[in-house]
C-alpha cells in the first residue's frame, strides 16, 4: 500500500483514496492531471474517457454557434469549455460568452483572448464583482473595457471606479422594458431596436482598436 499512499500524496484533488487496505476512486473528482499514472511503480493505473457533457452546433445568417451542455451533476466545466473553444477559427471573429465571477470557468473562458468586455451594473453588488473581475483580467494581462447595463439605475460609483482605474466605458445600456421583452423572446437588441446597430458596430470598432492582437 505504500506506493498507493505516495500516489495519493501527489494528487491535487481527492479522486483516489486509500483507507486501510481499501482503495476507493471517485471519477467525478478527477482533473485528468495524470499524476497517479506518473508515480505508480506498478503501472497499474490506466486512463479512460468520461462523458462531461455534449457539444451542440448551429448556424444562422452566416453566424456559427457552438455551446457545451454540462452533464447534470458534473462538478467541473473547464474541460468542456476548452473543447468548445477548440471550434473557434483563428481567422474569424470569436465571441465567448463567459459566466459571471472569477471562478475557473471564467478564467478558462478568458485565457488567451484578445480582449475582455466586462458587463456590469451601477450597483454596489455590481461594483464588488467588477473589482474582482478586473483583478483577474489584470493578472491575465488582457486589455478590457466596460459596458454598464441598466445604466440609469443605481449610483455613479462604477463610473468613479472606472475613471480611477482608467477603464474605458464603451457602452451604457439603459434599463428598458423593450430590451428585456426582446431578450425574453430570444431576439437580439439590434433587430428589435435598429438604432442600436450603429452603437454595436462602433463598440466592435473600439474593441478592435484596443485588442491585444492589434497592439502586439
Amino acid at each position: 500500500m505504500q506506493p498507493m499512499r505516495k500516489m495519493r500524496g501527489n494528487m491535487p484533488v481527492k479522486a483516489i483514496v486509500v483507507i486501510g487496505e481499501t482503495v476507493l476512486s471517485f471519477p467525478e473528482m478527477c482533473h485528468s492531471c495524470g499524476g497517479c499514472m506518473e508515480v505508480c511503480p506498478e503501472k497499474a493505473i490506466t486512463e479512460t474517457g468520461r462523458e462531461l457533457g455534449v457539444i451542440e452546433r448551429g448556424s444562422k445568417n452566416g453566424l456559427e454557434f457552438v455551446h457545451g451542455k454540462l452533464r447534470v451533476g458534473e462538478a467541473m466545466s473547464p474541460p468542456l469549455i476548452r473543447k468548445v473553444r477548440e471550434y473557434a477559427r483563428p481567422e474569424a471573429l470569436t465571441i465567448i460568452d463567459a459566466p459571471p465571477g472569477t471562478s475557473c470557468p471564467v478564467i478558462t473562458s478568458m485565457k488567451g483572448t484578445d480582449f475582455v468586455l466586462l458587463v456590469t451594473e451601477p450597483t454596489p453588488f455590481g461594483l464588488h464583482d467588477l473589482k474582482l473581475a478586473v483583478g483577474a483580467v489584470n493578472i491575465l494581462n488582457i486589455p478590457c473595457g466596460l459596458i454598464i447595463n441598466r445604466s440609469d439605475m443605481g449610483d455613479d460609483k462604477v463610473n468613479i471606479y472606472a475613471e480611477k482605474e482608467n477603464l474605458p466605458i464603451l457602452m451604457e445600456i439603459p434599463f428598458d422594458r423593450k430590451i428585456a421583452e426582446a431578450y425574453s423572446r430570444g431576439e437580439m437588441i439590434v433587430d428589435v431596436m435598429p438604432e442600436w446597430k450603429e452603437k454595436f458596430l462602433e463598440l466592435h470598432h473600439q474593441i478592435e482598436e484596443m485588442s491585444f492582437h492589434k497592439n502586439h
Binding site: 484533488v13 483514496v17 473528482m29
Partner: protein, 122 residues
Amino acid sequence: MGKIAVSCEEPSLDSNIDPRFGRAAGFLIVDPDTLDFSYVDNGSSQAMSQGAGIQAAENVFRSGVKVVLTGYVGPKAFQSLSAAGIDIGQNLENITVRQAIEKFKAGEVNMATAPNRMGHSA
C-alpha cells in the same frame, strides 16, 4: 467500547457538535468509558473546494475510531467511512459532544445506512 470521533467546533467535551462532517472544524476522539479525549484538527478539509468529506474521512480513519457521531454526511464521505468499516451516527445537532456520547451509549443514536446530504458541486 472502541473510540468515537465526534465532529466539533472546539477541542472540548462541552463544545457544540459541528453538524457538518466534511467541513467540521475538528474531531474529538473520545473514549466513551473514561471520557478521555484527543483532538484532530480538520482545518485542511475546510479549505478545500471539493473533496472535504473524503479528506475528513481519512483524518478520522487515521485516528483509529470505529464510530463517527455527526450531523450531515455527504455521499463521498459516506462511501469512504463505510470502506473503512466506521459506523456513522448522523442527524445530531444543537447538542454538546458530551451529550452526543451519552446519547450514543444509551442507544439513542440512529446509525446511518445511507448519506443524508447531497454532494456539492462547484
